[in-house]
């Protein structure tokens, strides 16, 4: 009797320890996604939607939250199914899972937020080919348990949302003199309309990458590890392919 009690006590404390570990890990994942490996500002992944939808802060926020939902759910499901998905067909399996969630989210947006759906247009279905989602599935969810994977997805999604909202805010402020739709600049400020249009996106991103290069050079001088910074599309496509952006659909070469 006492032995069993002892055992259950032990298992309770072990469980508590595990839970504490899991909580720490979840927090660490959130911090990692938002700050340390921010998908936009640090890894520079998924730049197509970043440039296309950040014409205003609200659009950026909407796109970020939509991606967050898809990313968290697909990470969770892929992690739950990681024992069942054979290694050789994992990329098609990931794509089917991601595409299903995107379809669900798109139908929900059509029904409940038609204005946002209209503003984001073709970029909602294109979440399927966002490098961040396939990249996280491949590099984290496929080899880690469900709860950390869920929080990894939420963290990365929040990092993406914060980044898109910031870029959208800058473009809206410069291009229309507004923030979240409210005019805040004095009348003497003449908006630089080009920033709200397509070319402005390239200029904002160019400035962003230049700042990143500067930080990287300063970090290298101080002897910090900067290998993770800017490993996405900022170099070339070959870099992107490691992250799952241009992966082979059915990679038999890797197996043999």
């Amino acid at each position: 009797m006492s032995e069993r009690n002892l055992q259950s006590n032990e298992s309770v404390s072990a469980k508590a320890g595990r839970e504490e570990g899991a909580m720490n890990r979840a927090g660490e994942r959130l911090y990692n996604g938002i700050v340390k490996e921010n998908p936009t500002f640090v890894l520079m992944l998924g730049m197509c939607p970043t440039l296309a939808v950040t014409t205003s802060a609200i659009n950026g926020l909407g796109m970020g939250l939509t991606t967050l939902v898809v990313l968290a759910l697909s990470n969770l499901l892929i992690s739950l199914l990681r024992g069942l998905i054979p290694n050789r067909v994992r990329i098609p399996a990931f794509i089917v899972i991601i595409a299903s969630f995107v379809t669900v989210v798109q139908l929900l947006l059509e029904a409940y937020l038609p204005d946002l759906n209209k503003a984001l247009g073709v970029y909602i279905p294109l979440i399927v080919v966002n490098c961040i989602i396939l990249g996280r599935a491949e590099s984290y969810a496929y080899s880690n348990p469900p709860i950390p994977s869920l929080f990894d997805g939420i963290g990365m999604g929040m990092g993406f949302t914060v980044a898109l909202t910031c870029i959208g805010l800058v473009r809206e402020l410069l291009g229309a003199g507004k923030a979240f739709g409210f005019k805040i600049t004095p009348d003497s400020f003449e908006p630089v309309r080009i920033f709200a249009q397509a070319p402005g996106a390239f200029f904002v991103l160019a400035a962003l990458v230049a700042v990143q290069n500067y930080v990287k050079a300063a970090g290298a001088r101080a002897g910090k590890d900067t290998s993770k910074i800017g490993s996405g599309c900022s170099h070339d496509c070959m870099n992107c392919s490691e992250k799952g952006c241009a992966q082979r659909f059915y990679d038999n070469e890797k197996e043999e």
């Binding site: 296309a52 379809t103 249009q197 397509a198 070319p199 170099h235 496509c237 241009a246 659909f249």
Partner: protein, 194 residues
């Protein structure tokens, strides 16, 4: 006659006025990544023309005869991405066996296009704008031609940029992005065409 005119409008509209990379931001990865030399840029461009035209034909046929017939239009995103990925794989295998010369020229670029957002983007745009199969193919071809024009011009400019003195922080990607932004402004001029 009316339909020919309509096709011409789509041809000009999709290739120049609303250029796929410079105003819609689709296919940015290859646009920035494979534009260092003019001839590789041209190779990438022709591979994209080939794949997008073929993919919009196949996606159009599948949408009309399978998805619409069984009233499962909402499955289009899943079906399109799988069809496109499988198609690129088949094209690669077919070219390797049947046309080694063409494979030599395009082969390296094909895997890069598998999950290129421009391919899926064209297929979905065709559905959203309710284009027929032929109109969809023309739209796909025009979009891909627009991509090729943009990437070849960018590669030409980048070859010249190599010899210029650029501030350290702006070396590499930022300079390319600034160039792309200026090209996007130039392409805004085409909006008066239609």
């Amino acid at each position: 006659m009316e339909s020919v005119k309509e096709l011409l409008v789509i041809l000009i509209g999709s290739s120049l006025v609303s250029n796929v990379v410079l105003s819609q931001f689709l296919g940015l990865c290859p646009f920035l990544g494979v534009s260092r030399k003019t001839n590789t840029a041209a190779g990438m461009g022709s591979a994209v023309i080939f794949v997008i035209t073929l993919a919009s034909a196949v996606a159009g046929v599948i949408y009309k005869f399978v998805l619409e017939r069984f009233h499962v239009e909402y499955l289009r995103t899943i079906v399109f991405i799988l069809v496109i990925a499988a198609l690129v794989q088949f094209v690669e295998m077919f070219l390797r066996k049947a046309m080694p010369a063409l494979y030599e020229a395009l082969g390296v670029y094909l895997p890069l296009i598998t999950t290129n957002c421009a391919v899926l983007g064209v297929a979905i745009t065709n559905v959203q704008k309710e284009y027929g199969i032929l109109t969809g193919i023309v739209n796909g071809f025009a979009t891909a031609v627009g991509f090729t024009i943009a990437i070849v011009i960018l590669a030409g400019i980048r070859e010249k940029l190599e010899h210029n003195d650029v501030p350290a922080s702006f070396k590499g990607m930022p300079m390319v992005l600034l160039t792309a932004g200026l090209m996007a402004i130039a392409f805004c001029g085409f909006s008066g065409l239609l």
